[in-house]
């Protein structure tokens, strides 16, 4: 079960792939679809593996990624 989830603004993404390279869990990949600007945007290929580390978002030059983590029970 995934501990995190990322929300990628598909239209903001320029398909540079830095997030894909940065993800230690290999969650992300290029979509086969293209966005309005013609880029193959990044998406969560293996969402179940996401730990919500936010490395992808930190490296995203277009600030297109939001990261959420599961609430940890007190």
């Amino acid at each position: 079960m995934a501990k995190g989830v990322v929300v990628i603004d598909e239209d903001r993404c320029k398909g540079c792939g830095l997030c894909i390279a940065a993800c230690p869990q290999h969650v992300l990949d290029f979509s086969e679809k293209i966005n309005k600007s013609g880029y193959n945007y990044a998406y969560m290929k293996y969402p179940e593996k996401c730990v919500g580390c936010a490395f992808c978002a930190m490296t995203c030059p277009d600030v297109a990624i939001e990261v959420y983590r599961e609430k940890v029970a007190a």
Binding site: V5, V7, Y43, M58, T59, C60, P61, V63, Y68, R69
Partner: protein, 252 residues
Amino acid sequence: MPVNTENMIKVFGRPKSMTDVRSTYCPGCHHGILTRIIAQTIDELGIADRTVTIAPVGCAVFAYLWYKCDAVQASHGRASAVATGIKRANPKLIVLSYQGDGDFASIGTAESIHAANRGENITVIFVNNQVYGMTGGEMAPTTLIGQRTTTTPAGRDPGYFGYPIRFSELIATLDAPVYVTRQALYDTRRIMDAEKAIKKAFTYQVEGKGYSLVEVLSTCPTNWHMSPVDANRHVTEVVTKAFPLGDMVDRG
């Protein structure tokens, strides 16, 4: 694809002081990462309502669009002089001079050095990508030895074109600057280091300590003719040899 984020905590999002304007930078360009770091720093220090950013000439000419802050566009190379004018006119403002390598280390050499030497209480972010991006990939003052650009098609021959200039090291010889550092953004560890350095630079300004310079090694995948991932590797393996990372001065 809709993702269910109910019952989850947002741990990373767009900084509040950043506008929604879509970035004009090429895919994979580090300017975007840097923009996010600066906005995040402005948020963390709570200074958006008194920050003035100075947009240079070059790829970052649109820098006035990225932040919910007052901004001015400066002529090529003069951003540090414009910053001086703003800060001297109103010392309560937090002034960011955002400059590329051609702007800061070539055409603006005099303005850059003398603002530093006067110890102006400003923060300069100096983006070093070793090439003139906006105009089509010409040689920059920081272009590496042997590096091919559109004006050094056979590679930079130092006997003919001179050597890549280590401008931050020059600034670091001055007595006035409180903080001079070189950072990079090629992996998450470096990004976290850069975040700390930029926050320190702004904090020093807020505390009235004086001039800070954060040089940031950036990629230019377009004009380096590399993929963004390969460009990151190039910074790691090649660029940092010519431009070593780390603090040169910290008198804070």
